[in-house]
Symmetry: D2
Subunit: 309 residues, 4 copies
Amino acid sequence: MNTQPELAWNDVPVCDTFAEAFTTVGTRIIVTAISESWVRIAATEVTGYATSVIACDAEAGVEKFLSPEESPDGRPGVSLMFFAFSRSALEKAVTNRVGQCILTCPTTACYAGIPVTDPEKALALGKQLRFFGDGFQISKKWEDRRLWRIPVMDGEFVCEDRVGSFKGVAGGNLLICATNQSAGLLATEAAVTAMQAVDNVILPFPGGIVRSGSKVGSKYSALKASTNDAYCPTLRAETNSDLPEGTGCVYEIVIDGETFDDVQQAMCDGLQAATQLPGLLQITAGNYGGKLGKHHFHLAEVIAELKRR
Amino acid sequence: MNTQPELAWNDVPVCDTFAEAFTTVGTRIIVTAISESWVRIAATEVTGYATSVIACDAEAGVEKFLSPEESPDGRPGVSLMFFAFSRSALEKAVTNRVGQCILTCPTTACYAGIPVTDPEKALALGKQLRFFGDGFQISKKWEDRRLWRIPVMDGEFVCEDRVGSFKGVAGGNLLICATNQSAGLLATEAAVTAMQAVDNVILPFPGGIVRSGSKVGSKYSALKASTNDAYCPTLRAETNSDLPEGTGCVYEIVIDGETFDDVQQAMCDGLQAATQLPGLLQITAGNYGGKLGKHHFHLAEVIAELKRR
Amino acid sequence: MNTQPELAWNDVPVCDTFAEAFTTVGTRIIVTAISESWVRIAATEVTGYATSVIACDAEAGVEKFLSPEESPDGRPGVSLMFFAFSRSALEKAVTNRVGQCILTCPTTACYAGIPVTDPEKALALGKQLRFFGDGFQISKKWEDRRLWRIPVMDGEFVCEDRVGSFKGVAGGNLLICATNQSAGLLATEAAVTAMQAVDNVILPFPGGIVRSGSKVGSKYSALKASTNDAYCPTLRAETNSDLPEGTGCVYEIVIDGETFDDVQQAMCDGLQAATQLPGLLQITAGNYGGKLGKHHFHLAEVIAELKRR
Amino acid sequence: MNTQPELAWNDVPVCDTFAEAFTTVGTRIIVTAISESWVRIAATEVTGYATSVIACDAEAGVEKFLSPEESPDGRPGVSLMFFAFSRSALEKAVTNRVGQCILTCPTTACYAGIPVTDPEKALALGKQLRFFGDGFQISKKWEDRRLWRIPVMDGEFVCEDRVGSFKGVAGGNLLICATNQSAGLLATEAAVTAMQAVDNVILPFPGGIVRSGSKVGSKYSALKASTNDAYCPTLRAETNSDLPEGTGCVYEIVIDGETFDDVQQAMCDGLQAATQLPGLLQITAGNYGGKLGKHHFHLAEVIAELKRR
C-alpha cells in the first residue's frame, strides 16, 4: 500500500486511500425483556462469537438500545443486526442463535426489525422455532404481522414469524496508527463510541476493534490469510513496513451497515472522534486494490463530508 | 415426574429427586488484557453463543475474574471454562473461538488454565493459531511451558502452545418454581450470584438461567426435544402438569463443572441463596430417570450438606 | 389516607389521589470526558449522596447520557440536574460538588446546561473554581459564553463561567404496592427505566427508588419525620394500615423535573411500565393533604393522559 | 521538589522521594442487598461526593465486594471504608450518609465492619437511625452484637447498633508522569485496578484518580490551596516545572488505609502494574517536606519490597 498521507484532519495525517467493502445479506431483530439488565445479557449472548464470517456463522452486533417507549412491547429493548454471505446462511445462523440464546433467556421476546415486504427475502424465525412448542404454540395476528406464542417455563416466548432481509455493506474500515498501545486504544475507543451512536451500523469485532489485521495469503499453503506484517510494529525491521516512523500500535475498526451512506457516516463520525485524542500518527483504510469489493469509501470523501458539516 | 416435595429448606418445599448430569470433556483458559474492561469484552465475546452443546459448538462461561496479582502476567484476567462432547470437538471449538474472539481483541493474551500432563489429552491452542504469524511468530519457553508470540497490529499476541483437558460433569441443575416471573427471576438470580462465586464451575445459559426447559421427543417427528409442557405454567389446563398449585413461573439453572463435588457445592450454595427470597413454591431438579447420565445429584444430599455446614 | 382504589390501569387498581410536589430551584450541567466510562464515573461521584434536600445539600441525578455528536465538545457526555431549596444553597452545593468531583476527575470538562438569560438567576461555576488556577487560568469566549481553562496535571479543566437556574418541581411521586419484595422491586425498576428515558427529569434516590417512606412528625419530639407506618407491611397488625390486603412490599419513586408537564410525563410512563409486571396490588401517590406543595399530580389525570396516547 | 529520578522499576525512572500521609480516623461498614446490582447502587450512592476531607464531610470508597458466602447475611455485599478528621466528624458523616443512602435504598442491610471493642471509639449507627422507626423498631441480639430492625415500606431495614473506628492513614500517593493523556490514563487505571485488589484500603477520588494536584497556598489570600503549577504540563514555559522533558500528563492516586503496611502494599502493587504500560516518563510521590504528616512512604522502600517478592 505504502500510501503517503496527503490529507489531514484535526492535524492528524490521513492517507488518500479507500476502504473496500463487500455486498452482503443482513437483517435486524428487536429483542425485549423485563429489564435493561436482561436485555444486555440477551444481546451479548446472541451476538457473541460473531466477529467475522470467515470463521463465524455470522457477523453480529448491537445497533442500539431502545427505551420502553421506543420498543414494540413497551419494555426495554435492543436492536441487533446480523450479516452473512447468503440469505440461507443468514437464516440458519439467526434462527439457531435465537433458538439457543433468546428462546432460552428469561423474559425475552423477539420481533422483526426489517419488515417482510418480499417473501423471497424473508427469514423464518418464529416460523421455525414455534415447533419447540410441541403443538401448544399459538399464532397471533399483530396488525399485518404474525407472532407465535410458544409456551416456556416462565410464561410464553413471543417470537415474530418471519423477518425481512436486505443487501447490506460489510467491511467498511478505518486503520488508526498511534505512538503506543495506550494512545491507539483510547483514540480507537473514542471512534467506536461515536460510531455506535450511528443508526443502521454495527461493529462486529470485540468492543468494536480488531488488532489482528490480515493480508490475503500466507507462506503456509493451507492458510488463505495471515498477519498483515506491513502493519505490525514489531516487524518493522524484518518486513516491508507501511507504518509511519514511530508507530507502536495500529487498530482497525470494521463497520457493517445497511447502506453505503450509513457506513460512510460512521467513518466520518469515527474519524472526527479519534482525531481529537493525542498520540495519533496517521489514519488510513484497508483495501484489496479495489477489485474484490464493490463499495469504496475514499478517506478524501470522508474528510470532504466532515468539512461540509 | 410428579414428585411430591418431602424435603424443605428455609421453609421452601424441596422435591426428593435428583439432577442427572453427564460426563463431558472440559478445559480452562486464562485470558488477560490491559484493563478489566477489555477482559470483560473478551470474555463475553469468546463465551457467547455457547449455551448448550445440543446446537452450539461448546458450552462456555466465566469461571472467575482474576486480579493482576492472581493472573499469569500481572494484568487483569479471567478464567474461562469450555465443555463439549469430545476432545476433538472441544479443540475445534476452543481454537476457533480464541482465533476469532481473542486473537482479534485488543491487548489480550491467552494462557492454559489446565496444565498439559498427558499429551493425549492436550488441545492445540497457540500450536495452531501461531500460523497466523506467517513465519514471524516466535516460540518462547516459560518454565516448562511454551508460549507463542504472534505479531499483530498492536504488538504481539502471546498464546500458550497447548492446554490440558479433563473429564468433567455437565448438566447439574436446579428448577425453581415461583408464584410469578418477578419472584422467580430474583430468586434464581440470587442462586446464580452465589453459584458464580464457586470455583471450577460455569453456568452456560444467558445470565446463568434457562427458561425453556425441554423434554425428550416431540409430536413433530423431526424434533428430538420440545418444550417441557409439564413445567409450563400456561399449559396447566391442557397438560399433565408437574407444577404445584399457584406456580406462575419456573426457572432452571444448569451447571457444568470440573468434578462432581464442584457441581454439588454450586447446587448447595444456589439452593441456600434462592430460598432466602420470597415467593418460592418449590425447588426440584431435572433428570431422565437416571439411565442417561452417570452423575446423580440428590437434593436430599444437597440439603444434608447444607445442614452439616 | 385510606383512599380506596377507584381507578385502574392494565388491570392494576389505582387510587384516585394525587402526588403533591414543591417548587424548588434547579439547574443542569453538562459534563464530558474522554470516554463513556469516565463520564459515568464523574456522573456517579458528583451526584452521589444527593437523595433528599432534607439532609443532603442537594438532590441530584443523571438526566441523560449524550453521544459525542450531541455533546458540546464532540466527546461523550452526560446531562446532570441538581435541585435545592434556594438559589444560594444550590450554587453552594453545585460549585462544591463540581470542585470536588469534576475538577478532580481525569479528562472532564463542565458546561452550562441552562443558558444564563437573567444574571440574577445565574450560578457561579468556573467563575468561582477558576481561582484554583492560581492566576494561570485563562478566559476563553465561546460564542456569547465564557469558558475558563484552568491548568491541571492532565492538561486543562475547561469549565463554563456560569450556569442558569430555573424554578422547578420537586417531589412528584408514585407508590407501588406489591405482593412481595421481588414483585415490587422489578415493577418499580421497570417504572424507573421508563422514567429515565424522559427528558428534563431526575430520580434522586438510589437506583431511582426509595423504600423508607416517611410521615411528618414522630413520637420522638426531636424528629420532624419518621417511618410511614401506614405503609409498612410488617406493621399491619400494630397500626392503622393504608395497605391493601396481601401487600408485602411498597416502593416509592420520587421525581424532580424542570416543569409540571415533565414530571407528569414521567409519572405516565412509569405507571404504564410498572403495570405490565406481575404481582402488583395497587398504585397510589403521596401527598400532605394538598396544603404544603403547590403542584398536584392527580393519578386520574395521569390515566386520562395514558388513554389519550 | 525537582527530585531527579535515581531509582527505576520495569525501566521506568522513579524519584527517590516519599509520599507523606496523615493520621486520620476511619471505619468500615458492610452493606448487603438482594442482588449485586443493588449492592453496587447502594455503594456508589453512599460513597459519592467523598473525595477529600478538605471540602467533603468524609473520604469514602469501596474496599471490596463480598460474595453471599462471605457476607454477614448470605446475600451479596460490599465492604466500604470512610475516613474523617475526627471521630465525631466521622460519626456524623457516616450516620447521615447511611440514613440518606442506605436506609432509603431497596432491600439493603447495614453491618459493622469494625467490631466495637472500645465503647469510646464506637460510632452510633443503628443506635441513632432506629428512631426513624417511630417506636416500632425492634432490637435483636446477634451473638454479642445488637441489630435494629426498623420497619420500612419494603419490610425491615436491619442496621447494626454501633461500629468501631480505628486510627488510619490517609494520603498515601503515587504521581505518574506520561507522554500524553492516553498513556497516563491507562497506566494509572492499571495501577488503580491492582490497588483495588488490596485489602484494607480505598482510593477516594473519582475512579481512584485525581488530576488536580494542589500545592499549599495561593496568590489569592482567601485560598489555602491552588493548582500545583510545577506539575501542570501546560505551564512548563511559565513556571518552575518539576516535570521531566516531554511530559504531557500527570495523574495522582491517593490511598487511604487501615495501617501503614496496607497503604504501602497498595503502592507496591500500583507501581508494579503501572510500569508495565507504555508511555511513562517518571513515577514520583507527593509530600510537604515531611513535617506535616506522620507517615512517610519512601519509593526506595516500595521498590525494595517489590524486589523481595
